[in-house]
């Protein structure tokens, strides 16, 4: 077996064992308890919630990001280990949603960190979230969820965009 085949097997296995850290910034957090618990039960897909970013595979951003929150999201994202996937949730993360002219929310999340999957809606129902999880699993198996690779390749550009809204970055 060559290396590519091993990677395929690895992806097939890892898509059934996903741990998710949910960064609950906006109102979308309210849709997560039914997804996680017995009503919709994401555990049947092999997914579980994780409290710490270093042990998680998925970063779920549930809603608008203020400049202040974006800085924390970038830190959380950079702490996660490869391979890592980002799902951005709700219309606020796509174009600002109802905060389109707000002075303090960043409008498109994928200008600052790579997003593998967007879920449309305000708010997306739990069914939409489950559908997104299944799509993400398919993308992982096919090797299309490659946001973490793109972040490495285009790190300077992402960093430049981040620093256009941050005034300082304290390490």
């Amino acid at each position: 077996m060559n290396a590519e085949d091993w990677k395929k097997i690895q992806r097939m296995m890892s898509k059934r064992s996903l741990w998710m850290v949910h960064f609950c910034t906006g109102c979308g957090a309210v849709e997560m308890p039914p997804v996680m618990t017995s009503r919709y039960d994401m555990e049947r897909f092999g997914m579980g919630p994780m409290a710490t970013p270093r042990q998680a595979d998925i970063l779920l951003i549930t809603g608008y990001l203020a400049v202040k929150t974006l800085k924390r999201v970038v830190r959380v994202y950079e702490q996660m280990q490869d391979p890592k996937y980002v799902i951005a949730f709700g219309s606020c993360t796509m174009n600002g949603g109802m905060y389109w002219d707000s002075y303090n929310t960043v409008k498109r999340v994928d200008k600052y960190i790579p997003v593998d999957l967007y879920i449309a809606g305000c708010m997306p129902r739990p069914e939409a979230i489950m559908d997104a999880f299944l799509k993400l699993m398919k993308m992982i198996e096919e090797g299309k969820a490659d946001g973490w690779k793109r972040y490495k390749e285009h790190y300077e550009e992402y960093r430049r965009n981040q620093m256009r809204v941050f005034r300082r970055w304290d390490e």
């Binding site: 202040k68 002219d101 002075y103 409008k107 490659d146 285009h154 965009n161 809204v165 005034r167």
Partner: protein, 164 residues
């Protein structure tokens, strides 16, 4: 003591606000920035022990900021609003955090959102906003749409070639 009588004794110009569905009176008082400290002290000793909120209104046409100190009494269940007007071009007010410690937080917020300077409050730094680089955003002459376009919409998408 009746609150109306108390306010009259203090020599405060006040009006009773009519609030629909609210039987307990609310008083709107206009005071100046020199006497507010002693008035709040007297009201506090007369039962107005709950400081509810401090808010700011930008009256841009009058060239003034209005600071509203909102007090509540658990004994008479009445609300008193103390309105102070300060000039918009030199918005300076003395801090009142020694009367109610929670005023400090409100002063920090108003300093950040309206640019009002509270003399004596040493914690007026960056508070809710982070990395802010423009005029205080709650001022009426701040154009939030223009700012959003200039700051966020102008950020380009990361060019990742053929979408790989």
């Amino acid at each position: 003591m009746n609150t109306q009588v108390l306010l009259e004794n203090l020599g405060i110009r006040c009006e009773r606000l009519k609030v629909k569905g609210n039987t307990v009176p609310r008083y709107m008082c206009h005071v100046d920035s020199e006497s507010i400290e002693s008035i709040i002290e007297k009201l506090k000793s007369a039962g107005f022990k709950h400081f509810v909120a401090l808010t700011c209104v930008d009256w841009i046409k009058d060239g003034e900021f209005e600071l509203l100190y909102h007090l509540f009494s658990y004994e008479s269940r009445e609300d008193v609003f103390l309105s102070v007007r300060i000039p918009r071009d030199a918005p300076i007010m003395k801090t009142l955090r020694h009367l109610f410690p929670q005023i400090e937080t409100y002063e920090r917020e108003i300093h950040e959102m309206f640019g009002v300077e509270f003399e004596g409050n040493d914690r007026l730094g960056e508070f809710i906003l982070e990395d802010w680089d423009d005029m205080p955003p709650m001022r009426k002459d701040f154009d939030t749409e223009e700012y959003a376009k200039r700051k966020y919409y102008s950020v380009p998408l990361v060019d990742e070639g053929d979408g790989k």
